[in-house]
Symmetry: C2
Subunit: 675 residues, 2 copies
């Protein structure tokens, strides 16, 4: 049943040899890797305006310099990462760069930061996509969280299936999105120059200032916070650096060029949207009720996203085709952006699991050759975040980009070390000149992203970023702890030079409660292994039952001695454990094998009716050194598929002498041939 559901959702398993490397031309690589950074222009402008709104309409003039700073930073980071792409064509990304150049600890910090940020990418992108859907269909507002969770579930299922045709599936919406926004910007600018300038539906609103008349340090703080929020436009820039092996050769060069193209498009779209927003007079506020003039119930009705307001004003209202196209492509690319985290997160966890920093299950490829466990972990944590933050983009975004900038800063710093090392051995003056330039670029990148990291931390800390400041060290500690555990275990299990170690003697013990067929089978199997001693043991709970058992034992002439253990406290496990410990006392080289008759049942509820003491005994025996536990299963009819069963055994008359155990020899058959 469960298996059937799995097959429907995930599909049939794939053979390992289906695992092949893809090789993407630039025009397909751009949409695959750029959906994340490009999609963030859909909310970056809005987040800047939201922060400035705390000072009311008065601070809107700051949007232009803040956006300019974001554009500058974007350019610097893109140029810096072109260096990474060229220097590390293996696609290890920031984790590899930091680990190799700054050491294991820095690498793990980057890994922890990236893990947090992949989760945030899913949560923020899906939430923003749903936000744009709700802007087009406001009646869906009450189901916001459920729609978010449903999208994540669909993404999870798709990724568990391991969709291979991702290149083309990504290309169409991404290019549609770029085209749509370019057309919108062009029409908007055109109308402003040659006709009636478009006016946003919220242009006439007034924002009630939370803090009116900000000045001095407070004004600086708000400006920096607006900048920090605008920096969400930079998320996903490093995606290409993780995907270099997927490019067509010359891989590094193609990746670097794609990066440049992506940077230019992102800058153009972000600048265009911010310009349009200021021109059309869009107003937004964190709390809708702060918007004086808002039509509708500010407590329940949602605000439209900035993109939606622009599309409505430029294309002639919120029922025009242009509006719906922009909203649809925006929502689609945001969901695709979430999908990139579904590629990145499982890959990173599998690398970490391979390095033994995470449980090894994360390194196992599932039925469809993807790292299924990583996909499930990502999906689960993102869903929890969506539920915890009610699917609110503005609240989720406070936890975002802290990780991005941690990894930016550390990997750029690592690149500076990288060039230092190479400059120490390189002698060709032309290459040395290039390296000097690269080092300057990366140093600039490290300093700037480091500065932004400090700004983000300072301005967002109390708004939720502190959760990340807690989560990253915990993740770091966890990974360290797991590695330590695996290392200790590996040392403990390292075989010694001596080789195989044989026990001196083998004592077989068969616990018996009643004389039924499973017991007889366990006794027979135990005897067939010809142990040095074989004892059936029963624990006396009721004197009456013991007498009955002994009588039947004698009557059936069982050729194994039956030992009765006293149990004044009616405990079955304790006396057996004591007896077994006694067997090995002063004979540490001996081994005790305990044969436990065990029922195999077909229904879960049958477990309630059987096996209680057998399971307890097994669990306790595992902790005793020098003891093996053999389950001799007896398949009850309920556990077997319908149909006749072959007679499994040949019967031997019971009172056969111990020496004649194997009286019935099988006909000569060839042994199974081991390789």
């Amino acid at each position: 049943m469960l298996n059937w559901v799995k097959r429907v959702v995930v599909g049939r398993p794939l053979r390992s040899d289906r695992l092949t490397e893809q090789s993407l031309p630039k025009r397909l690589a751009l949409p695959v890797f750029a959906s994340d950074p490009l999609s963030s222009v859909a909310y970056a402008t809005q987040e800047i305006l939201l922060v400035l709104a705390v000072g009311g309409t008065a601070l809107m003039y700051l949007a232009t310099p803040v956006a300019a700073a974001v554009v500058l930073l974007l350019a610097v980071v893109v140029v810096s990462y072109r260096q990474v792409v060229r220097a590390y064509p293996s696609g290890g990304g920031s984790y590899e760069v930091a680990s190799r150049n700054l050491g294991r600890s820095a690498g793990l910090v980057v890994a922890a930061a990236l893990l947090v940020d992949y989760v945030m990418t899913v949560a923020v992108s899906v939430a923003a996509g749903v936000d744009n859907i709700i802007s087009a269909a406001p009646s869906l507002n009450p189901y916001r969280v459920a729609i978010n969770v449903a999208f994540i579930a669909v993404l999870t299922a798709m990724n568990l299936r391991g969709v291979r045709e991702s290149g083309k599936a990504f290309a169409i919406p991404t290019y549609l999105f770029i085209t749509g926004l370019v057309v919108m910007i062009a029409v908007g600018v055109g109308r402003a120059l040659f006709g009636t300038a478009p006016v946003a539906e919220s242009a006439s609103y007034h924002v009630r200032a939370e803090h009116a008349g900000l000045a001095g340090a407070a004004l600086l703080f708000v400006t920096l916070r607006a900048f920090a929020s605008g920096c969400t436009a930079l998320t996903g820039v490093e995606a290409i650096s993780n995907g270099v092996p997927a490019f067509k050769p010359p891989r590094s060069e193609n990746a670097a060029r794609t990066m440049a193209a992506m940077g230019l498009i992102a800058i153009g779209l972000f600048a265009g949207i911010t310009g349009l927003a200021l021109m059309t007079g869009v107003k937004v506020a964190e709390n809708t009720c702060d918007l004086v003039g808002f039509t509708g119930n500010c407590a329940t009705d949602p605000q439209r996203t900035v993109i939606a307001q622009l599309a409505a004003s430029i294309f002639g209202g919120s029922d025009s085709i242009g509006f719906y196209v922009i909203q649809a492509t925006t929502a689609l690319i945001l969901i695709l952006a979430a999908n990139t985290a579904f590629n990145g997160f499982p890959l990173l966890t599998s690398i970490l699991a391979h390095d033994r920093y995470l449980p090894r299950q994360l390194h196992t490829r599932g039925d469809r050759l993807v790292f299924s466990n990583g996909i499930l972990v990502l999906s689960l944590v993102a869903m929890l975040l969506i539920v915890a933050f009610d699917g609110s983009v503005t609240r989720l975004i406070q936890l975002y980009i802290l990780g991005v900038f941690t990894s930016f800063t550390l990997s750029q710093a690592g690149m500076v070390r990288h060039w230092n090392r190479h400059l120490g051995v390189e002698r060709d003056p032309r290459i040395r000149r290039q390296m000097h330039t690269s080092r300057i670029i990366n140093a600039l990148g490290a300093v700037m992203t480091g500065l932004v990291l400090v700004i983000v931390l300072a301005t967002k800390f109390t708004h939720g970023a502190y959760l990340v400041v807690i989560a990253v060290p915990i993740l770091y500690g966890l990974m360290r702890g797991i590695r330590r555990h695996y290392d200790r275990t590996a040392r403990e299990l390292e075989p010694e030079p001596g080789g195989m170690v044989l026990p001196a003697r083998i004592h077989a013990v068969v616990p018996v409660s009643q004389l039924h067929r499973p017991t007889l089978r366990a006794l027979a199997y135990a005897r067939a292994t010809r142990p040095d001693s074989l004892t059936a043991v029963t624990v006396a709970i009721s004197a009456e039952e013991v007498r009955a058992l002994q009588a039947e034992w004698t009557e059936r002439d069982i050729p194994v001695p039956l030992l009765v253990l006293d149990s004044p406290y009616r405990d079955i496990t304790g006396p057996l454990l004591d007896y077994i410990a006694e067997l090995r006392q002063n004979r540490p080289r001996d081994v005790v094998v305990v044969y436990i008759p065990e029922y195999v049942v077909g229904h879960w509820w049958e477990h309630l009716l059987h096996n209680q003491s057998a399971l307890r005994l097994k669990a306790r025996l595992l902790f005793q050194p020098g003891v093996m536990v053999t389950s001799v299963p007896w398949q009850l009819e309920s556990s077997r598929p319908a149909g006749p069963q072959p007679a499994p055994e040949v019967r031997v008359p019971a009172p056969a002498a111990a020496e004649a155990e194997r009286a019935v020899q099988p006909p000569a058959e060839e042994q199974p041939a081991p390789v």
Copy 2:
């Protein structure tokens, strides 16, 4: 840790020989067995008045005839049960009487009805006790459910400890309760005759009728429902019939006399309280807001119980000592009444488990010689009921007494059969005359209780009794099903006359993933059992890892062939299962032993890092016929207590010939001497 908590709550285990029969004189037996029927007078009157209140103050005149009918019924049932006590001195009670005389099915119906009623006894008695506590301390009202649950938890802990001094602990509160009520009735009657008659606080209230002006069939229905509610006074009457073996000899005669005393006291108290309630003009209503004149907030403030109102009016207000004494002893005896179910339920479930109608764990005596599992089941279900019904006595009582009257009716009918059977063989005319009388008494009892059963069913069905009508058949079916399962299993496991059956050949298989010490130990142990074939098997997930393993295998010169199984779908369990099935194909008399190296870890989280595939393999192997699974545990350091460990084994050089396996023989030692 868990063990420590258990020891604190339950105490140290007791030796089996501490299990002795108690032998109670009548003056102690009365309180032990009569706390349940006597305590029910604390709420029976109130429930009659509550039902009559639906017709407003107008119907109060019906309380007298209804109470008289209850008294009559009580007398008949007590006389009937005196016959049971004399005829069945073994203490089997209604279950035994019905099973023996009416057959297994009737017995099981009685058992199911009694199980439901024991649970209801706990829920109703504790709820009524807490009700009386809240009548004395109304500020506790918001914590009603929590106080109920806490009392049940304390009763559970006490019964798990197996308090043996129950006789005296019961005597004091029971006699205090009886004395208190007798004094209250005497003072009340005395004041009415010779002074100012006491007036209840609610005497001036007016009850707003839910259905005003009832007449005809509707009036009859309400009267019958009031009667059905009053019949709660009969609960627990059968308790003495289950406890005959606990009496001092002559057991039957003493039990019958105690029963008569109990009946007289119950009748006296019930009649007295009902009379006082009518005399002082007590008014109650299911919904407090129907009480016109109620002082306080009718939505949140609780009504006082009838007992509390009587005590307050007779002893001079709700701050008099008399009031507190009555409330305290009433609460105490109600809690003790719940305690009697803690004796009856586990005893009944243990008898049913012994007869294989319930899981056998219910027949096991725990550390303190009580049937711990039955106690826990009772406690859990009662707590759930309290939570589900908000601890409301009136709502819980609708589910009560249906079971009691089912068991009354069937056991009295069984007694009629019993006398018929005995009359068929008895020849002595004097004894025959006695038997004739007894038969008439029991027939009368059966008819009357049967009639009441119909009345209870008809009048309470829609008020909650339907839940019992659903629960009893489900319990009945469950018990039948469990018995059928145990019977089928027993037939399946019945040893055939042939005796022990030895397998033809033994094939040992050791699954290997890496060559570490647990693997080497598993190989060594497997070899030491000298199987007919021994193969190490590895599943090829990664070609690289397999090559490394093969190289190490050769290098270490392991004297066991290593077979590599292909696994195109990266599944470890599947190929191993196929290989093992193949080994036994066409050789059904052979047995395969799979030696699985298994880590034993000290912390639960370590499980997440190890053993995943070993556990999955074990679970699947158990379903294959002819396969034994041997766990070769490797205790990781984390699982061991601190301190030096003895060297467990002697090393043998690896390339030793297979024939020289036991080169190192232990010094001659005596074998453990089996009995």
